[in-house]
């Protein structure tokens, strides 16, 4: 039997629990709206502001079987000081790694304010017994993770066992303790926007602090329409209950231009309140260097070469 | 002073948007040139390319298909002198271009003439739409070398099908030139595949191929009954293409019709 969802500290539920109407999503109109927002032309100072925000909200990520403490530590160095040639470039929001790499990352990030996020719950497939997945979370937290990125059980979701999906999230949230919880939907496996909306609302009801699009291991991942669909669901929860849930776009965002398009989506759907690392994250790896290149181009006027930006 | 020696052209097959030689390594002489002689494996590769390319072509908007085919007309128009040398002359080339333009203009009109809503007796909305059949094998007429091929190529293309065509055996050079025009237009790779070689050898392979949906026998004069028998194995749509026809019903031979019902109610 599920426990009541764990709520952010200080938040009072009204006497009757409310969820927004689940409803449907029209795919054609959703895709048109996101395409139209993607055409916003962001230039000059607005562009620099956006690029800087993108860096501040990046979860710099490495999730490979071949990751080693050395690799993870190098990434952490990059995370705390993305551009040694430009002191005005802020650190990223977090570094995201597999649980085994958490200690190495934590050590390198000490004193920087950059968070350590660990994927858990049998990432990326989630095809393991619940007890194993919850133990995975507990150990990641013990190793020092500030944030946990879990995956929902898509097998359960697609076979209509929504209660199982819900219960697991509730248990994981409890195992997180102080760590904040991001729930990955793996939208590329859900098939329809209607399902994405349902999964978003379900995850939020079960206690997610953030909802996240993808593991980054399959395609399609964080497309603009899917992001818009999830942002609209987040907005409906906020309108209905006053609760703010964060959003993380992850997977397939390689170019600065795409990052800016994602930020425009947030700005025009949820407004400026969500444009901060507390409520917005971009999960990416190669994106960071592209943003640095764009920033330098804005500052100097010249197109840049990758040779001048470190690969860590 | 010796005259300048021209660079001699190599006449290859057109499969998947590229120009490979025959996997068999064979060639034959036609119109004084060495031309690739396609084998059954080339047919296999061509059908595979066609099948892979067909869904994208069918999913393009009708407007887009029309524009792409119009662009093909632009590319042929730009090469009128070259084409004229490979067929009966300028007149045949101009007729071919006009025929491409004529068919291009049908792309966005077919459902309006071939489909429609059906007034069924009951609270249902019912409509019929034409759809491409899939991969069409075409045995191009032996003559005329350009106009004959264009006449049989455009009808299946306009409707959203992908084509594997066998060029005229004796006069294949116009077909190769057309392949080059296709390659420089916006026709996606694999939507049109052109094989040069022996119709007697390649015809039966196409007719028996289980992943070909329709067969146009325009260029198969003598061996048609045998090909029709082979085609029956997967119930191909068999079309006896006319060498010089220009009609929407030519397009319709390569289309399926789908009818949909939906209730009307509050």
């Amino acid at each position: 039997m599920a426990q009541a969802p764990v709520l952010p500290a200080g938040f009072q539920l009204p006497l009757e629990a409310r969820l927004p109407r689940i409803g449907s999503v029209d795919a054609v109109a959703l895709e048109e709206r996101s395409a139209s927002l993607a055409k916003r032309s962001i230039k000059r100072e607005a562009k620099v502001w956006a690029l800087t925000l993108a860096i501040r909200t990046t979860d710099l990520t490495t999730l490979e079987g071949s990751d080693t403490p050395g690799k993870a530590a190098a990434l952490a160095s990059k995370a705390r000081r993305p551009d040694p040639a430009d002191g005005s470039v802020p650190p990223v929001a977090a570094v995201c790694v597999y649980p085994n790499l958490v200690p190495a990352v934590r050590e390198r990030l000490a004193g920087s304010g950059v968070k350590v996020a660990a994927v858990a719950t049998g990432f990326p497939s989630g095809q393991y017994p619940t007890a194993i997945k919850v133990a995975d979370v507990r150990s990641a937290v013990e190793l020092g993770a500030d944030e946990i990125d879990m995956v929902i059980d898509r097998g359960a979701f697609l076979s209509g066992r929504y209660a199982k999906v819900y219960d697991e999230i509730v248990q994981v949230k409890e195992a997180c303790g102080e760590a904040h919880l991001k729930v990955i939907l793996e939208t590329g496996e859900l098939g329809t926007y209607d399902n994405v909306r349902r999964a978003t609302l379900l995850s939020i009801a079960a206690g997610a602090d953030f909802v996240k699009t993808s593991t980054g291991k399959i395609s399609p991942a964080a497309t603009l329409p899917v992001a818009l669909c999830m942002l609209e669901a987040i907005r409906d929860v906020y309108e209905e209950t006053g609760r703010r849930v964060g959003f993380k776009a992850a997977g397939g965002i390689r170019q600065a231009k795409q990052a800016i398009q994602h930020l425009v989506l947030v700005h025009e759907t949820l407004g400026p309140d969500w444009l901060s690392p507390d409520l917005y994250r971009l999960g990416a790896s190669s994106l960071l260097n592209d943003i640095l290149m764009q920033l330098r181009k804005e500052r100097t006027g010249a197109y840049q070469s990758p040779d001048y930006f470190t690969l860590d | 002073m010796a005259e300048r020696l021209p660079v001699k052209k190599t006449y290859k097959l057109f499969i998947g948007g590229a120009f490979p030689r025959s996997e068999s390594g064979r060639t034959y002489e036609a119109e004084g040139q060495n031309v690739a002689r396609a084998s059954r494996k080339d047919v296999r590769d061509a059908v595979r390319s066609a099948r892979a390319a067909q869904p994208g072509w069918a999913a393009a908007t009708a407007y887009n298909r029309g524009q792409v085919l119009y662009r093909l007309a632009e590319m042929v128009e730009a090469r009128v002198p070259e084409f004229a040398e490979l067929c009966s002359g300028r007149g045949e080339v101009e007729r071919s271009i006009d025929r491409i333009v004529w068919y291009a203009g049908w792309a966005d009109k077919l459902p309006q003439v071939l489909g429609g809503a059906n007034p069924v007796a009951g609270p249902y909305f019912n409509f019929t739409v034409p759809e491409p059949t899939g991969v069409v094998a075409v045995l191009a007429p032996q003559e005329p070398p350009l106009l004959g091929l264009v006449t049989r190529l455009l009808p299946p293309l306009v409707g959203g099908n992908a084509v594997v065509a066998v060029a005229s055996e004796a006069r294949p050079l116009a077909a190769v030139e057309l392949a080059e025009a296709i390659a420089t237009s916006d026709v996606p790779g694999g939507v049109v595949n052109l094989l040069t070689g022996s119709a007697d050898e390649l015809g039966p392979v196409l007719a028996a191929h289980m992943d070909v949906n329709a067969l146009d026998l325009a260029g198969a004069d003598g061996s048609a009954p045998e090909l029709e028998r082979l085609a029956a194995d997967n119930v191909k749509r068999v079309v006896r293409g006319r060498n010089d026809a220009q009609s929407p019903w030519e397009i319709a031979s390569f289309l399926e019709l789908k009818t949909v019902w939906h209730p009307l109610g509050q």
């Binding site: 100072e45 507390d278 | 333009v101 009109k109």
Partner: protein
């Protein structure tokens, strides 16, 4: 730790450069393939700041006479007897040229008319080119469009178009007319002549024979001269219902063929099972696209009472994200009102709405000092009898009413002398089809709005006009038919 972020992320201005288009100081009329000096001229401006763009001709009776004569000459000289396949190729050329010069035309359209560049670039121009491309393909296939009727051209068509989609309306008129073998005298709207005049340069590049298309600019007087001209065989008019009726009266008994595309007061109907956020997009598109200067605008929003509050809340929030501003800025969503006269009409009707008791909402919006601007507006608590629910405002003003059942929605939607278009928002397929069957409107959009395509017939019921533009049916107004003798025709 929450950071302080700016209260709004202001996108920097992103203007489309106007250097791509060259505007002459002065234009004459384009008649018989040549530019005729205009004896009388008037100034055409940019509504965003009232800058004078050019002096254009005020067509006189003599100008119209010359234009009709040129059209008649070109018709008799062989345009209609030219093989359809040759006519087709001229139209294909025009289509391709419009595609190539698309940006140039889009900038000019936005400058002269006031609509956002985003719209002229992404909607008006692609559709205009597509319209020519579509009708090009019919020019040599008319016998398939009308089997057994032996279609033939009529003669000279007089065409009068409005200021809301200047180039697109020109395409809708000229393409089918000349595809069918007719020749044309066209008058663009008084406030938006420039893209029509630039179009004459496309005709030059396409090498269209002289006199097949003639453009005469001017105000209503020039239009009247065309309508009344004896040697014009067919009139096509798109504009206000008032003027449409006047034209119909004028032509009574003359035997001239007529098509009219007039005003509308479309109902946009949202059921409680609609995909709400997408419905809001459709509502916004329905009334704020092109500043509401759209005959088929969804100006009456009917919301099922059971979903009224969430829908209206979402709508008001969405209005606040609409960017009103310079039409040439790529980020502008809502541009300038086309003219001072139109702005006055909108203001008058909005004032009447407030007087009659409706509740007005306008998002906070800084409007520029110069030029003609109106903030996106929504009225709630609207009664069916209020002027804002009855009369066409032709501006960015939405009236919201409620309903309870599908029957009631249909009844209220149809309760108007107009009948151009309607919108239906519901996830239930059978209800979409049931509503579509009952709505007395020439175009029904389900789960979408303001969608146009050259293959899709457009036109109204009742006082919204008669005749269709687009599709196979769009050919009919431009043809005479010799019915087959066997059927007694």
């Amino acid at each position: 730790m929450t950071e302080i972020v700016p209260t709004g992320w202001t996108y920097a201005s992103a203007p489309e450069s106007r250097e791509i288009v060259r505007i002459a100081d002065r234009y004459g009329h384009f008649v018989g393939g040549e530019w005729l000096e205009a004896a009388e001229t008037y100034e055409t401006i940019a509504p965003r700041d009232e800058e004078v763009l050019a002096a254009v001709g005020q067509g006189t009776q003599a100008d119209v006479d010359r234009a009709v004569a040129a059209a008649r000459g070109a018709y008799a000289d062989g345009w209609s007897s030219l093989p359809g396949s040759e006519r087709a190729k001229y139209l294909f050329r025009i289509a391709r040229l419009l595609q190539e010069r698309s940006r140039e035309f889009a900038v000019l359209e936005s400058l002269n008319g006031g609509k956002p560049i985003k719209e002229s670039r992404d909607v008006d121009l692609p559709l205009a080119a597509a319209h020519f491309f579509y009708y090009a393909g019919w020019a040599d296939k008319l016998e398939y469009a009308f089997p057994n009727r032996r279609p033939k051209a009529i003669g000279v068509a007089g065409q009068i178009i409005p200021w809301n989609f200047p180039l697109l309306m020109l395409a809708w008129k000229i393409a089918p007319a000349i595809a069918c073998g007719n020749t044309v005298v066209l008058k663009p709207a008084e406030t938006t002549p420039l893209t029509a005049l630039l179009f004459c340069d496309v005709l030059r590049q396409a090498e269209l024979p002289a006199g097949v298309v003639n453009i005469v600019t001017g105000d209503g007087r020039t239009g009247a001269a065309i309508v009344e001209h004896e040697d014009v065989d067919k009139i096509a008019f798109t504009g206000s219902t008032e003027v449409g009726k006047a034209i119909q009266r004028e032509l009574a008994g003359s035997g001239k063929k007529l098509t009219l595309e007039l005003g509308g007061k479309a109902a946009n109907i949202v059921f409680d099972d609609a995909a709400l956020d997408q419905a809001v997009e459709g509502i916004v598109n329905g009334i704020y696209f092109n500043q509401g200067h759209v005959c088929c605008a969804g100006s009456r929003l009917f919301v099922q009472e059971s979903v009224y509050e969430p829908l209206v809340a979402k709508l008001k929030r969405r209005l606040a994200t609409l960017r009103v501003g310079d039409p040439l800025d790529k980020n502008t969503d809502v541009g300038a009102i086309n003219s001072a006269a139109q702005l006055e009409k909108i203001r008058e009707l909005v004032a009447s709405g407030e007087e009659e008791g409706a509740e007005i909402y306008q998002p906070p919006c800084t409007l520029p000092e110069q030029g003609y601007w109106f903030a996106p507006t929504v009225f709630t608590n609207v009664a069916q009898s209020y002027r804002i629910a009855q009369e066409e405002i032709f501006g960015p003003v939405l009236s919201v009413l409620t309903f309870r059942t599908p029957d009631e929605a249909v009844e209220k939607a149809n309760n108007t002398p107009y009948g151009l278009s309607a919108g239906v928002w519901t996830e239930k397929g059978s209800r979409i089809l049931w509503m579509a069957q009952r709505l007395r409107a020439g175009v029904v959009w389900a789960n979408t709005y303001n969608r146009f395509d050259p293959t899709s017939p457009f036109g109204g019921y009742k006082e919204s006009g008669f005749g269709r533009e687009g599709g196979r049916h769009g050919l009919e107004p431009y043809l005479d038919f010799e019915e087959s003798e066997a059927f007694g025709g």
